[in-house]
């Protein structure tokens, strides 16, 4: 306190040379008032006004005398606020007195006007702080100046007044409570966001420890740090409070430096917790984002189940029977040579986008786009009995969807395209493949390679399925004659069939996966 606030006579040597003239101006104001009172004004109303004016002048004098010499921007702002409030009172009471003074009492009028003038001169020596000095809503970058909204619970009037004054001068917003009941009432008020509570252990109506327990047992209050203040120098008491969740402990008489340091530290920790809360909220937002994004490549049902069981996305994999579907645009390389790059991208996006929607609607997962090819999986990450049925139905639906693709292409002035589709069922390793930083859910195994080989021989508009897929089907599908496929890298002959899908009624997506 002593080094920060100076007595009036010392102010001449300080950073604010105007402080001395300020003090003397207030002294002039008081002299004017004293002579004014001697005039023994007539009406009780005027007497009342003059008394109030005297009080207002006292307050103004105090305010000017105790101007902080070195203070944080926040402290300076608080002082200026206080100062202008006092100037306001002096101006208001003087004007009121002037209204109550009849013109005949000339001396009184002249004195009051002199007071007004001094008051305005005083005001003009302290202009408002420019906006850039400090923005009120932004936490100051300098952590020494961290301020917050504090609740002081202390029954002793003098102690409470001193504490509040110290805290206000440091730039904090301070609420007071004289008793436990009052403290609880203030805490119940949900609209008050408190940053810190200073709690006296000994209160007339309640034990400070009870209040501490109440705070720590109430979800909405738990996060507010509590610093206990007590006259008792007992370690056991300290331990009891800290165990009950008190942030810190101070003994009376409270050392101001220690108080400031502890409050700063508490507010600092709270600000980190607040930031953590904000971060968690952001995380929850991004969770929703993942759900949405993931939903583009897999059915929302699967995305939700994955998010609910994040261990399902651990690195590593499992052996699973899946049905893989691969599509390809016929003559894509030729198209690329004829079209502009931008046109190729338009065409591809149209094709991949439309077919992805179909895959997702049948409960499949789009595993990969490989150039103009799509690899879709049915049965991983989550398997069900009708994986093969849905995969074949999906393949047929994709061929039907080519009409939609081509209508869009024509509208854009792009050529019509045709696609070939291969379906195969077999055991694969499914899991997250890649490094910790970059990995994706996928399938690997001979079965996937076989799908690609079948795709190689599939022609325009074809849906070719392997013997394994045909065996896995629960519903009957009309297929053509068996074809033997002997391909490079395969150690055995694969039997494949072309699905007669134009004869098959366009299957609806299964209800389980369709919304």
């Amino acid at each position: 306190m002593q080094e920060k606030y100076s007595e009036p006579q010392e102010t001449a040597d300080t950073a604010h040379p105007s402080a001395r003239s300020l003090t003397s101006q207030v002294a002039v104001l008081e002299q004017e008032l004293a002579s004014l009172m001697q005039d023994n004004p007539a009406t009780p109303e005027l007497q009342h006004g003059l008394t109030s004016l005297g009080e207002a002048l006292d307050k103004l004098k105090q305010c000017v005398d105790y101007r902080p010499l070195q203070s944080s921007p926040e402290g300076e702002r608080t002082w200026l606020h206080d100062f202008r409030n006092n100037i306001n009172a002096v101006r208001g009471y003087t004007e009121m007195c002037l209204e109550d003074t009849s013109d005949s009492v000339q001396r009184l009028t002249a004195t009051l006007q002199a007071i007004l003038q001094c008051n305005e001169e005083l005001l003009s020596s302290f202009p408002p702080i420019a906006e850039q000095t400090i923005t009120p809503d932004v936490v100051p970058a300098n952590d020494d100046a961290r301020t917050g909204r504090l609740l002081v619970v202390e029954d002793n009037d003098a102690n409470r007044a001193i504490l509040c004054r110290q805290l206000t001068k440091t730039g904090h917003t301070v609420c007071e409570a004289k008793s436990g009941v009052e403290a609880l009432r203030q805490l119940e008020d949900a609209s008050v966001a408190l940053d810190l509570i200073l709690l006296d252990l000994m209160l007339p109506d309640m034990d400070g420890f009870e209040i501490l327990q109440h705070i720590k047992n109430t979800a909405s209050l738990r996060e507010i740090p509590v610093i206990m203040i007590s006259g008792q120098l007992q370690d056991a008491e300290v331990i009891r409070c800290i165990q009950a969740g008190a942030e810190d402990y101070l003994f009376k008489p409270v050392n101001e430096i220690l108080l400031r340091a502890r409050i700063n530290a508490s507010l600092e920790r709270k600000s980190w917790r607040d930031r953590e809360q904000t971060y968690l909220a952001e995380l929850s937002n991004s969770h929703a984002f993942i759900r949405q994004t993931f939903g583009r490549y897999t059915s929302e049902d699967i995305a939700n189940r994955l998010l609910e069981h994040p261990d399902g996305l651990d690195m590593g994999g499992s052996l699973q029977e899946v049905t893989t579907v691969m599509t390809d645009i016929c003559g894509f390389t030729g198209l690329c040579n004829r079209l502009l790059p931008t046109e190729v991208v338009l065409l591809l996006n149209n094709y991949l986008g439309t077919l992805s929607d179909v895959i997702v609607s049948y409960g499949g997962t789009v595993d990969e786009f490989i150039g103009d090819a799509i690899l879709a999986i049915f049965g991983a990450p989550l398997s069900s009995d009708d994986d093969a049925d849905r995969a074949v139905a999906c393949a047929i639906a994709m061929q039907h969807a080519m009409d939609v693709v081509n209508q869009k292409n024509m509208a854009l002035g792009l050529p019509a395209i045709r696609t070939s589709i291969a379906v195969n069922t077999g055991t694969v390793i499914a899991g997250n493949i890649g490094s910790e930083t970059r990995s994706k859910f996928g399938v690997v195994g001979q079965s996937v390679n076989i799908t690609a080989r079948i795709e190689d021989i599939a022609g325009a508009d074809d849906v070719l399925i392997s013997q394994c897929t045909l065996n896995a089907l629960q519903k009957k599908v009309s297929v053509g004659p068996a074809l033997a496929l002997r391909a490079k890298g395969l150690d055995r002959i694969i039997t494949v069939y072309a699905v007669n899908y134009s004869a098959t009624p366009s299957a609806e997506p299964t209800p389980t996966y369709h919304e």
Binding site: R77, N85, N88, V90, R91, G92, M96, N119, I134, S191
Partner: protein, 127 residues
């Protein structure tokens, strides 16, 4: 019938001063010492206009104005912000939280009176 003004001000002297001067001009006054108190008064009494100090304990005037503007019953209530004008951007902030008018301390009483009368006249016309 005289209009009722709610004065929200924590500084005792300024509260007393405003009350006395406004009563002299024929207004009824209701007092509140902080934002929470103000919301309670607004709940209990029909008020025609609010004079709100912005720097208040417990709940400041900025928050309180926003709460008033969010309340369907109160959203059209005229609010005159009173700030000590310690900062040059107080006026913009007051506008941002939904205050109708703005006066800085020390208050120019005649000017404040003019604003009160103008806002009350508008309200009467609107009703």
């Amino acid at each position: 019938m005289s209009s009722t003004l709610l004065i929200v001000e924590d500084n005792e002297m300024n509260r007393d001063l405003l009350t006395r001067r406004l009563q002299k001009k024929g207004f009824s006054t209701v007092l509140a010492v902080n934002g929470v108190d103000a919301m309670q008064r607004l709940d209990e009494v029909d008020v025609d206009l609010v004079l709100m100090d912005m720097n208040l304990p417990v709940q400041d005037g900025w928050t309180t104005c926003q709460m008033i503007r969010r309340d369907p019953q109160l959203q059209h209530l005229p609010i005159i912000a009173l700030t000590a004008h310690a900062m040059t951007n107080d006026r913009e902030r007051a506008r941002a939280v939904g205050c109708t008018e703005y006066e800085t301390k020390p208050i120019n009483f005649q000017q404040l009176l003019g604003k009160i009368q103008k806002l009350l006249a508008w309200q009467t016309t609107a009703n």
